[in-house]
Subunit: 597 residues, 2 copies
């Protein structure tokens, strides 16, 4: 099965492009080798094939409801969570001492890709993993003892409880309050919204990792602390967390998004994680992985859509080739042979595989930054990670939308019906440019924080890496042309960046960031062009050196073909973006004039 | 009410930009004046406000089901159809002799805009109107007598029954067959799919205008005839049309899309419309209006989404201005003041109002081509109509998708929930680039047929009109800059077109049209830039000559502001499109290499 993703492509990226086995030279990863990576990927694919993919539609059609304070979800959800827990896949990336396998994020994030491609409505275990990692990283021994093992085993559900009704993207405005008690615990009072998996009946306990202000704490982000707030306390008594609402949503309907109220009876117990007022900084330390995870979700849903539309395009006969229109006696051809349909398929492939490559690149930075003992190497990859993360969150989700929409279009009227999965995937993916920081927020992070960080060092490092790929490509006949294009694009990006920096220097942040989203789009295209050149080089070398035949040859040739597609169809978009970004007309900063909007 | 569209904008376009009252100089329209136009717009708005807009969500949530061969739809649908019929709005554009009001399409198409903006799930009357117009234009007196009046009165439903399971976009492959009978009628046998309003319980009869081949007819498009196939025959007996299936859809759930089977009992009677084998040419004569109608639907749904997201953005407080981030003691600001949100709102406004302008321009061509007695003028506007129609179908639907998606994004997580209409509108609009000819089909029509028609005469005429607007703009200080941009864009379009034509000359249609969809995108942006310059010129002249104040001044200033936004944010996209279109790499025409796709 597994038509929702291409294992051949994963192997290509993991072992041929990114040489993931080289990570095992670091002591932290030295229990691993290609065999353990493959086994892990096999295990999660089996879960995907058996428990997830077949229930894609069923989960969507049975959206959970809140009834009598309880939320029933599809029983396959419980089966899935336990299967993941029993296979050790929820905490595969955790340290041995916390019950994990010290699996590199390079591979671990691909587990997320596979499960989300199989059935993105089952986004339960990623949340548990994120929540457990906060406890494992910053919690006391007591908290770790109590929670981490059960969560990683898939017995208890974890959540990330950040958003409040009056504070969506603006976490500095959260008001949920923690009142200190004499026994060292806290009583929590407040409201949280959009809490994914915030309540359901497939796990006996739900563990919320919740941001709140300790009474009297300073305003803003510096007064926010992190708490463990379980649904049931250690002694089995029910904590004062009420499910006050459930959101009905456009997509990802398999997972309930809850409105929770804490402290209605003044009896919501919370346990501080780490030190007071450091909650947001703890969260931020988890943010890179979480954002890579959402990027993976975007790429995964687009992958499932690509698989479904590709299959349809190969099987659906319709019309004749444009040069043979009048040959009415000939049979209709499969629509994949129409250039416009081929274009829509290549676009999807270019987005899915380009996104996945960028995400693996980013996860690899995470691994080396984490595992390296060499301070210079550590810093280099840490800064690359910081820079690439907002892009790896945004490109796969924003362009994933475009990919899925093109997948739907391939099916024409059938794509609009519930007879095919495209309409669902089109709905499902729409949340990904919103949660875990909207595209607007990511774009401000990229241009406003990451590009100005340490005098621009992260960008210098990145551009150095891109230049390495360009050099490799220059040495290969078919690739040199694309190396030159990427070189010019890199110069374009630098020029645009230089034109914006004076606004930052002058402290006019609003002007500096007014078109940050366009800057993100430009940056994303060029970064993914780099990823495609990388893939093209490896594919070309494989053809030259390994003399592949049949399907293997076709695989590499399709890689090079898709690389060319990306350069000819997607890269030219940078011209218009760069033009706008270098202009000086201010049209979006508030003035009286546009009140009539 | 009517927050789903701006009447001020309609008045601006209709009376200030397109001077619709000048149409009344043609004898065909001389019963009209501004008062009759306004009364008609008022009447439809009242229906929109009272019977449609309040039920947007309700229709969506109660998707019709096929039960025991019957389809029950929301009772408001019947109320709406009858209200439209009683107000004379279904056939407002028909000749007096057919019971119409000879309302110009310029105004008539706006009725469609308003009802689709109010509740696009009620797309019933447009279908009836199209079906009745086929009978009125090509049917015998008997058929006219029997059907037209009842249909225009909103008593009977009409449908367009074209698509078949094995022949989606390829009408030449339809196989539904009509067997001639001695009494001059036919017996129909076959299947039709995706028939909107193909069966429902709110009208006592459903009249299908159906394409079929008379037994023994030639293959291809030249053997297709048009039939009236009613659900109930004149004598009240049930015709042999069976509802064999209903599609569950992503959006537009208020209207059932039916799978119909004709002739299960060999007793499906059909009446030929006009002459044999001319069915497709009759259909094509209705196609321009139908496509303008779908373009209007795209613009309308985008208009409703813009209204909803604008309201939210004005009311939702979140965070502080970027230059005052640390001012935590100040209240949060409405999100409309954030540049990125303002950008998303301006983008929506630019798309909605630019699309609407293009659509009115196109409808006006229809009117003059129809009403003029001057053969030269008639031809000029007919050719403009032919050229603009595929663009007016495509730009508002494809860019409408982008607009609605941006509207949803403005609301963040709330946009993804069913608490706001954005998620529904996001689903609803997705069909518009598919039905009535997909974007791929429209693009082939634009480049392959319309640009090569009569040695390029339609394009010459269009470019002449654009140049007129440029000249007007050059005379106005603030506008001259944008006149020069449009002049350069026009040259760019001509250059791209010239670079493609040799492939057509050489008969390599596949190569000629391989990137037709990108050509359409380029053409659309430049055509809408023309529309925005037109609007800008009129707004500027109004400010200079009429000395407006308050809201009126703000309206005109917002027009000029949005025009600038379009030129600075949307027009630069032509750079990348033109670059690709002038390249020679062939990547989407089928070769062996990409088998691995």
């Amino acid at each position: 099965m597994a038509q929702y993703y291409s294992r051949r492509n994963i192997n290509f990226l993991l072992y041929e492009v990114f040489k993931a086995t080289e990570l095992t030279k670091y002591p932290y990863f030295n229990a691993h080798d290609r065999e353990t990576f493959d086994m892990t990927l096999d295990a999660v694919t089996q879960i995907g094939d058996n428990i997830m993919f077949p229930y894609l539609k069923e989960l969507d059609r049975n959206q959970p409801e809140l009834r009598n304070g309880k939320v029933a979800v599809h029983p396959k959800v419980g089966e899935y969570i336990r299967a993941m827990g029993e296979a050790g896949l929820i905490g595969a990336g955790f340290d041995f001492e916390n019950g994990g396998q010290q699996l590199p994020e390079t591979v671990n994030s691909l587990l997320g890709f596979i499960v989300m491609a199989a059935n993105n409505g089952m986004m339960y275990t990623g949340l548990t993993s994120g929540a457990a990692r906060l406890i494992a990283s910053f919690g006391s021994e007591d908290l770790k003892q109590l929670y981490v093992e059960k969560m990683l085993a898939g017995q208890w559900q974890g959540t990330m409880a950040l958003t409040e009704p009056q504070a969506g993207s603006s976490l500095s405005d959260i008001t949920t309050t923690a009142f200190p008690q004499e026994d060292g615990t806290y009583r929590i009072k407040g409201q949280k919204v959009f809490i994914s998996a915030g309540d359901h009946d497939q796990c006996p306990n739900i563990i919320h990792l919740m941001l709140a202000r300790i009474e009297g704490a300073p305003k803003g982000t510096k007064g926010i602390s992190l708490f463990v707030v379980p649904k049931y306390r250690e002694d089995g008594s029910e904590n004062d967390v009420t499910s006050t609402g459930i959101y009905h949503k456009l997509g990802q309907r398999g997972v309930p998004a809850m409105h929770l109220t804490m402290g209605d009876r003044d009896d919501c117990h919370g346990w501080l994680v780490g030190e007071p007022h450091k909650g947001l900084s703890y969260m931020f330390q988890m943010m890179n992985e979480a954002r890579i995870g959402v990027g993976m979700t975007g790429a995964a849903i687009a992958s499932a859509a690509y698989g479904a539309s590709l299959q349809y395009a190969k099987e659906r006969p319709q019309s004749r080739r444009l040069n043979e229109k009048s040959a009415l006696d000939t049979p209709q051809i499969p629509i994949i042979e129409h250039p416009d349909v081929k274009r829509m398929l290549l676009l999807q492939k270019a987005i899915v595989e380009g996104s996945l490559s960028l995400l693996i690149e980013t996860a690899r930075c995470f691994d080396i930054a984490h595992a390296s003992d060499d301070p210079e190497e550590k810093e280099k990859y840490h800064l690359m990670l910081e820079l690439l993360t907002p892009v790896a969150k945004t490109y796969p989700t924003e362009m994933g939308l475009v990919a899925v929409s093109n997948g739907l279009q391939v099916l024409g009227g059938y794509g609009f019906t519930e007879d095919f999965p495209l309409e669902q995937l089109y709905r499902d993916i729409r949340i990904t440019p919103i949660y875990e920081g909207t595209t607007g927020i990511q774009s401000q992070d990229l241009l406003g924080r990451k590009m100005t960080m340490k005098g621009g060092k992260p960008a210098q490092i990145l551009f150095g890496e891109v230049s390495k790929t360009i050099s490799e490509a220059e040495a290969l006949d078919e690739m040199n042309k694309y190396a030159q294009i990427l070189k010019a694009e890199l110069a374009r990006l630098q020029e645009v960046t230089m034109s914006l920096m004076p606004h930052a220097m002058q402290g006019d942040i609003e002007r500096f960031l007014m078109d940050a989203t366009l800057y993100m789009e430009l940056f994303g295209i060029i970064t993914v062009a780099w990823q495609w050149l990388k893939q093209g080089v490896v594919a070309k070398q494989a053809i030259l050196n390994q003399n592949p035949e049949g399907e293997e040859l076709a695989f590499y040739e399709a890689k090079i073909h898709t690389m060319k597609f990306f350069f000819h169809y997607e890269v030219p978009k940078t011209l218009g973006l760069a033009k706008r970004l270098k202009e000086n007309e201010i049209l979006t900063i508030t003035t009286q004039k546009e009140l009539a909007l």
